[in-house]
C-alpha cells in the first residue's frame, strides 16, 4: 500500500540502531535513508519528496525536538515519529503538540513502528491531496477581478445574504450589475451554485 517513491528517514546518532532499524524496515519493503545527525538530514532534505522521519530525541548537537521545531518553521510537512531511550513526559507532550505522530520508548516493537509509519504516510498523502485542492481553488479565485473577489468574500462571509438584492444594497450598485458579476464568477470558477462557491472558498482559505 506504500508507494514505492516514499522514503523513511532514520536520524539517530547510534550506528547500531541505524543499521538494525534500516535493515528491519528494509526487510519490510521500506526505502530507507539514514543520517547520524539532524544537520546531516537538513543538508539533503527534499521537502517535496514524500517521506517519514524516524527521529531520536536524545542526540548530541541538535536534538530531535529542535529538528522538529526547525522543520515546522520551514513548513516542511514530513511526518515525524520520535524514538527515545528515556522518554520524559514533558518532552513527549511537547513533541505531540508540535505534530509528532508518536513518541516511542526504546526498545519498541517493529510492528508498532511500522503501523505508525503507515499511518504517517496515509496522513501525509491526505495532506498533500488537500493541499492540491486548495492550490486549485486559489488559482481559480486569483482569476477574479477585485469587484468579483469582493462579491465572493461577502457571500462567503455571510452565506445567508447571497441574493443579488442584498449584495446590490451592500455594494450600493444595481442588482442587475450584481447578477452580471455572479454569472462571470461562476463561469470563471467552473462551478454551478453558490454552495460550491462557499466550499471552494473554504478550501482555498485552509492552510
Amino acid at each position: 500500500m506504500v508507494p514505492t517513491e516514499t522514503t523513511v528517514y532514520i536520524i539517530d546518532d547510534d550506528d547500531d540502531i541505524r543499521s538494525s532499524l534500516s535493515r528491519a524496515l528494509g526487510k519490510r519493503g521500506f526505502q530507507v535513508a539514514t543520517f547520524d545527525s539532524a544537520a546531516a538530514f537538513l543538508n539533503v532534505c527534499d521537502p517535496e519528496k514524500p517521506g517519514c522521519i524516524i527521529l531520536d530525541q536524545g542526540m548530541p548537537g541538535m536534538t530531535g525536538l529542535e529538528l522538529q521545531q526547525e522543520l515546522v518553521t520551514k513548513r516542511v510537512d514530513l511526518p515525524v515519529i520520535f524514538i527515545t531511550g528515556h522518554g520524559g513526559v514533558p518532552e513527549s507532550v511537547q513533541a505531540m503538540k508540535a505534530g509528532a505522530i508518536d513518541f516511542l520508548e526504546k526498545p519498541f516493537r517493529t510492528d508498532i513502528l511500522v503501523e505508525r509509519i503507515d499511518a504517517a504516510f496515509e496522513g501525509l498523502f491526505e495532506n498533500r491531496k488537500a493541499s492540491e485542492k486548495t492550490r486549485g481553488a486559489r488559482r481559480k479565485l486569483a482569476s477574479l477581478t477585485p469587484r468579483e473577489k469582493e462579491i465572493v468574500d461577502m457571500m462567503v462571509a455571510d452565506p445567508s445574504k447571497t441574493s443579488s438584492k442584498d449584495l446590490a444594497r451592500s455594494l450600493d450598485i444595481s442588482p442587475r450589475t450584481v447578477e452580471h458579476h455572479r454569472a462571470r464568477i461562476l463561469e470563471k470558477l467552473q462551478i454551478k451554485s453558490v454552495v460550491e462557491l462557499i466550499d471552494l472558498a473554504i478550501v482555498a482559505n485552509s492552510s
Binding site: 538494525s20 531511550g85 516493537r109
Partner: protein
C-alpha cells in the same frame, strides 16, 4: 604520735635532769663498788700469799731436820745401827721444832727407832724395834723433857715393820726425800704430814729411810687467826681434793668405817659456802689450779667474792682458796646508796618542776598563737586583730597563716556560692559508700528530692536498677589524679527515669586516701531523646538518599541499556523476516528468533519498570494504575525471587486509578516484596510463594502481600523499630513505609489473622 610543744619541753627538761642525776649517782656507786671489790680481791690474794708463806715456813724446818738426819746417818756420823745414839739424835731433832710430832728411822733390816711427843704420862715417848735374824724385840720408852727415862716396857705383840710403810717405799722408790699426802695421825688423831728421806750406803745401796711427822693443825690455827674482812675464810685444799686446813678444825675430819679418820673432801665439807665456791674444783678427781682466779658467786641470797691461788709447789700440791662475803666490803656503801637515790629523786622532781615552769614560759606565746589561729580558722576572730606578743618567727608565720586563711575563706565562699548557685547539679559524696555529703538546689531539682532527703541516701539509691555502678573505681587509678564521667539513668523521686551526665573527680589526702568525690550532674534526658530522634531521622535520610541515588543510577543505566536492546530487537525483527522468507514457519530458527525477540522485549520491559521508579517530576500526587505499578514492581524483584526459588502470584479485579506519589508507593511495594522474599528464603520451607492481591474497598484500593515464611514474632512491634534489620538494597524500613502510606491518606498494618507466614496490607485512596 604528736605531742604538744609544752609537753615536749617539760618532758625534755625534766627527763634530762632525771637522766643526769641517775647517771651520776649510779656511776659513783658502780665505781666505788668496783674499787672496793678490787680491794677485796687484792686482800684475798694477800691472804693467800700470806698463807703460802706461812705454810712453807712451817714445813721447811721439817725438811731440814729430815735431810740433816739422813745425811748424818749416811756419812756414818751417827751409827745407824746404834739405836741408843740414833734415838738420842732423833730426840734432839724432835725438840728443835715444836710442830714436829715425831722423828724416826727405819733400815733395810727392819730395825726401827721412833721418837715422838706424847700426851702423857711423859712429854716424849720412844719405840725401838731391833731385829736379829728372825727374832725381833720391841721396846717402848717414856722420857721426860731432859731425856730421863721415866718408864719403859717391851711390847711382845708389836708387828710393825717400817719396810712395809708407804713413806719408806715412796722414799726408796724416789731415791730422794718425799712428802706424803696429809693424813690424820693415828696416835694423836691430828692432821699431819710426813717427810721421808732415804739414806744410802757407800755403794749407793739403800741403807734406810729417815722420816719426820709434822702436825699441821697449826696451819688451821693460823687460818683461824687471819682477819679477812668481817667473816672471810681461807682454806687449803690438797691436790686429791681433801681440805687439809680450815679455820674450823673440827670440819676437817671424817671417820672411816674402821674407826680411823680421814680428811673430808672439798665437795663434802661442812662449810657450805666453801663447798659452793670451790666444790667444783674437785669435780675431775684432782684439784688443778694453774693460775690465780678471782670470782664472784651467790649463796643463800648473799653475794661473795673468792680467790684461788695455784699449788704451793710440786712437793706440796696445795691450793689456797679464800672467800669473803661482798657485804663485808660494800655493806656500808649499800647503806648509803638508798639515801643517795632518795636525794637524786628529790633533785629530779625539783628540777622537773623547774623544767615545767620554764617549758610553760616558753610555750605560752606559742599556745596563744595556736589558739588565735584556731579562732581565725573557725571565723570567730578577725584576722586583722593585733597579734598577741610572741616570737619574731611566729609573727612571720602568723602573717603567712592569716593570708592563707583569708584566701581559703574567700575561695571557700566562692566554692560554696558556685556550688549552691550552679546551674548544673553538683554533689559531694563519699567515693567508697556513695553517701551524699553535700548537694545543691539544682541537683534537688533534677532528682526531685530535698537536700535533707538526699543526705540520707547514697548514689546507689538513685541510680536506675539496669544502670548501676555510679561509684568510681578507686583502685585502678591510685596515685594519680582521678576523674570519672558517665551517662547513666537515675530514678526521680516521682519514679520517672531520667538520663544524667556525671563528671567528677576524686579528692585524696597526702596519703592518697580518698576523701570525697565531687561531681557535676546534668539532666540530659531531653538531649538523649533528641539524639535518638536525630539518629532515627539520619537513618531514614540515608535510606531515602540511597533510594534516590539508586533511582538516578537506574535512569542512566536504563538509557544506556535501551540502545543496544533496541538494536537487538530490530535485528531480530529483520532476521525473523528474512528467515520467514527462507524457512517454514515451524523451522527451529524461526522459533529461536521469536524467543530472542520475546526475551529482548522482556528485558526492555524490566528496564521500563525500573525507570518507572526514577521518573523525574513525579514527586507530587498523580493518578496512576496501581496494577501496572505492581506488575512493574514484580518484574523488578523477579531476579531476586528466582534466585531464592520464590514464586509470585498476583490477582486483582478491574481497578480504577489511585492517587498518590507513584514512586513512593512503588518503593513500599518493593520493600514488602523483598521482606517477603527474605522471610521465605530464611525459612527453608518447600512452599515458597508470595501472593499479592489488590481489591477495592470503599474509596480505597487495598493491596496485600502475603508470604509463606515463618511469620512475625508477636513480641516485636515491627513498625516502631528504628530501622529495618537489613542494611542492603533499596528497601525502606517498615516504619518509613507506614509513614509514606499514611502521608498519602492510607494506612498500613500487619494482618495477624494469618495462620502461617506474614500478611502485610496497605491502602491507597482512589483517584
Amino acid at each position: 604520735m604528736k605531742f604538744s610543744l609544752g609537753l615536749w619541753l617539760a618532758m625534755c627538761l625534766a627527763g634530762l635532769q632525771f637522766v643526769t642525776v641517775t647517771i651520776i649517782v649510779s656511776s659513783s656507786y658502780v665505781s666505788s663498788e668496783r674499787v672496793l671489790l678490787d680491794h677485796a680481791r687484792s686482800l684475798l690474794s694477800d691472804v693467800a700469799a700470806n698463807t703460802i708463806a706461812h705454810s712453807k715456813g712451817f714445813l721447811d724446818p721439817a725438811r731440814g731436820a729430815a735431810e740433816l738426819a739422813a745425811r748424818l746417818a749416811q756419812h756414818k756420823i751417827v751409827a745407824s745401827d746404834n739405836s741408843q745414839l740414833l734415838e738420842r739424835l732423833l730426840f734432839q731433832q724432835l725438840q728443835s721444832a715444836p710442830q714436829f710430832a715425831g722423828v724416826f728411822y727405819g733400815d733395810q733390816g727392819g730395825n726401827f727407832v721412833y721418837v715422838r711427843r706424847s700426851e702423857g704420862p711423859t712429854p716424849f715417848a720412844s719405840k725401838i724395834i731391833a731385829r736379829d735374824q728372825d727374832e725381833r724385840q720391841t721396846n717402848l720408852i717414856w722420857r721426860a723433857n731432859d731425856y730421863e727415862i721415866v718408864t719403859q716396857q717391851p711390847d711382845p705383840n708389836d708387828t710393825y715393820d717400817p719396810r712395809t710403810r708407804p713413806w719408806y717405799q715412796s722414799a726408796e722408790r724416789q731415791e730422794g726425800s718425799i712428802w706424803t699426802n696429809p693424813y690424820i695421825f693415828f696416835t694423836s688423831q691430828s692432821p699431819g704430814i710426813t717427810i721421808a728421806a732415804p739414806v744410802f750406803q757407800d755403794n749407793e745401796a739403800l741403807q734406810g729411810v729417815v722420816g719426820v711427822d709434822i702436825e699441821i693443825s697449826a696451819i688451821s690455827d693460823f687460818l683461824a687467826d687471819l682477819k679477812i674482812g668481817e667473816s672471810g675464810v681461807a682454806l687449803i685444799i690438797n691436790r686429791n681434793g681433801d681440805v687439809i686446813a680450815h679455820p674450823q678444825q673440827d670440819l676437817l675430819k671424817a671417820a672411816n668405817d674402821d674407826g680411823t679418820f680421814r680428811f673430808v673432801g672439798i665437795d663434802e665439807i661442812g662449810d657450805l659456802v666453801a663447798r659452793e665456791a670451790f666444790g667444783h674444783l674437785a669435780d675431775r678427781g684432782e684439784v688443778n689450779v694453774t693460775q690465780q682466779l678471782s670470782t664472784e658467786f651467790t649463796y643463800d641470797g648473799a653475794d661473795y667474792v673468792s680467790t684461788v691461788v695455784p699449788v704451793i709447789s710440786e712437793e706440796l700440791p696445795w691450793t689456797i682458796a679464800v672467800y669473803a662475803p661482798k657485804e663485808d666490803f660494800v655493806g656500808a656503801l649499800t647503806a648509803s646508796r638508798t639515801q643517795e637515790i632518795w636525794i637524786a629523786a628529790l633533785i629530779a622532781v625539783l628540777t622537773g618542776l623547774v623544767g615545767l615552769m620554764i617549758a610553760n614560759q616558753i610555750h605560752k606565746p606559742v599556745r596563744a598563737f595556736a589558739v588565735r589561729a584556731a579562732l581565725i580558722s573557725q571565723g570567730e576572730l578577725d584576722p586583722s586583730e593585733p597579734t598577741p606578743k610572741t616570737y619574731r618567727e611566729l609573727d612571720r608565720a602568723n602573717d603567712a597563716l592569716t593570708n592563707e586563711i583569708l584566701q581559703r575563706k574567700n575561695s571557700e565562699r566562692e566554692y560554696g556560692l558556685t556550688f549552691d548557685l550552679a546551674s548544673r547539679g553538683m554533689v559531694q559524696f563519699d567515693p567508697e559508700t556513695g553517701r551524699f555529703l553535700r548537694t545543691n538546689p539544682k541537683f534537688s531539682e533534677i532528682l526531685g528530692y530535698s537536700e535533707n532527703e538526699l543526705l540520707t541516701k547514697t548514689t546507689t539509691d538513685l541510680t536506675h536498677p539496669d544502670d548501676p555502678g555510679l561509684l568510681p573505681d578507686l583502685h585502678k587509678h591510685a596515685g594519680e589524679e582521678q576523674t570519672f564521667s558517665a551517662e547513666k539513668r537515675c530514678i526521680r523521686k516521682d519514679g520517672e527515669p531520667i538520663w544524667v551526665s556525671i563528671n567528677g573527680i576524686v579528692v585524696r589526702d597526702d596519703q592518697d586516701k580518698p576523701l570525697h568525690a565531687v561531681a557535676t550532674v546534668d539532666d540530659i534526658t531531653q538531649n538523649m531523646h533528641a539524639e535518638a530522634q536525630i539518629r532515627k531521622l539520619s537513618r531514614d535520610l540515608s535510606h531515602l538518599a540511597r533510594g534516590e541515588m539508586l533511582g538516578q543510577m537506574a535512569a542512566g543505566l536504563a538509557h544506556e541499556l535501551n540502545q543496544p536492546l533496541t538494536a537487538i530487537t530490530q535485528n531480530v525483527d529483520a532476521a525473523l523476516i528474512t528467515a520467514e522468507d527462507e524457512f517454514d514457519e515451524n523451522h527451529e530458527i524461526i522459533q529461536i528468533l521469536k524467543d530472542l525477540d520475546m526475551q529482548s522485549h522482556r528485558a526492555g520491559d524490566i528496564i521500563k519498570a525500573l525507570r518507572g521508579f526514577a521518573r523525574k517530576g513525579e514527586e507530587w500526587k498523580s493518578p496512576f494504575d496501581i496494577k501496572e505499578l505492581i506488575s512493574q514492581s514484580l518484574r523488578l524483584v523477579q531476579a531476586e525471587a528466582s534466585e531464592h526459588g520464590v514464586k509470585f502470584s498476583f490477582t486483582s479485579d478491574d481497578l480504577p486509578d489511585v492517587l498518590g506519589i507513584r514512586v513512593q508507593i512503588a518503593q513500599v511495594i518493593v520493600n514488602l516484596l523483598r521482606n517477603a522474599i527474605d522471610a521465605i528464603s530464611e525459612s527453608g520451607d518447600n512452599q515458597k510463594k508470595v501472593t499479592l492481591n489488590a481489591v477495592r474497598i470503599d474509596n480505597c484500593i487495598q493491596v496485600s502481600v502475603e508470604d509463606t515464611g515463618p511469620g512475625i514474632d508477636p513480641n516485636i512491634d515491627l513498625f516502631t523499630q528504628f530501622e529495618t534489620s537489613k542494611s542492603d538494597g533499596m528497601g525502606l524500613g517498615l516504619s518509613i513505609c507506614r509513614s509514606i502510606v499514611e502521608a498519602g491518606g492510607g494506612s498500613m498494618w500487619l494482618d495477624e489473622s494469618t495462620e502461617k507466614g506474614a500478611r502485610f496490607c496497605f491502602t491507597v485512596p482512589v483517584a
